[in-house]
Symmetry: C3
Subunit: 138 residues, 3 copies
Amino acid sequence: MASRFKKIRLSTKGFADVIDITAEVRGFIDEVDESDGLLTVMVPGATGAVTTIEYESGLVNDFKKLLEELIPQDGYYEHNERWGDGNGFSHLRASLLGPSLTIPFKSNRPLLGTWQQVVFCDFDNRRREREIVLSVVF
Amino acid sequence: MASRFKKIRLSTKGFADVIDITAEVRGFIDEVDESDGLLTVMVPGATGAVTTIEYESGLVNDFKKLLEELIPQDGYYEHNERWGDGNGFSHLRASLLGPSLTIPFKSNRPLLGTWQQVVFCDFDNRRREREIVLSVVF
Amino acid sequence: MASRFKKIRLSTKGFADVIDITAEVRGFIDEVDESDGLLTVMVPGATGAVTTIEYESGLVNDFKKLLEELIPQDGYYEHNERWGDGNGFSHLRASLLGPSLTIPFKSNRPLLGTWQQVVFCDFDNRRREREIVLSVVF
């Protein structure tokens, strides 16, 4: 058995920036030396998350609106009182969705649906340079 | 190290159909040739999700009601405007819960609690024939 | 390839008790004999969950408040009618967040952000003695 890692760098806009990273996931799985195994996508950071979605702009807008309804940006958060960075909403959205996603791959392809894309969500309240970790075991 | 896969087929009713797949998970883990490792359950598709729940009908109803409150079927969704298939709510529920779940197994048994079942949730707005992927690495 | 397991025991207060288990995660990864792989944290039980958060008391309070807003303790739940244990809200919170989290590790360190802690959330409505499973494959 072995594991392989890759870091991908993303320039994000924050405020629920939803970025399709499916091509990076497919590319990484295609280049590993074993054909079958598990891939984990991990966000090292407490204001980002990973999930899957049908990546079309209408639905992405619906997703942003849902998060604003569940966890409004201008709500009252103790975190903001203490740290003054105003990103309490970012943290809560990230903790609710979760920072990692695990996907099996077979014959060097992730077992995703046709209309299912892997997305990184940057919930922070400013532009960020992010590093996302792709890790496989096989 | 090695990995093994199995696809299970399910006929679902949609509209937050919550289906107990614990027996299939236990059966698959029981038949693999190594006793210890990690299992991932994956939904290839953007309107389904996997989680665990105490599978009794009262709680399953509560879970459906919660999802209807958080993400109502008849809400306004841009996705519906564009695609006309009326399943914007299905997609959002799936993205919020997530498409995969990873469970360690030991001595050929998943490390679940006594009252904890693995469930596939079909959030789509019609009957579907689904394939769910079970994958283990060890 | 191989897998290793460790159980950690926690005395919890319930009612969304959010417990930082990052030190236990780091300690376990540090002691395994391979440097790189995947770690899964698993809650065997249907009223607990795992996620990551910046573990400072303001944000932890915000997180508890969010869960109370989304899934109130004193809401009406069929589960409570049937079982009389009053923890319908606990189950729903656990199913929404999910019982497991997978984190890659490299050079015997989990790939977490500096301000990102791994937390076990006990949503039950009473004190509990809990066993959480840490599992690695490499």
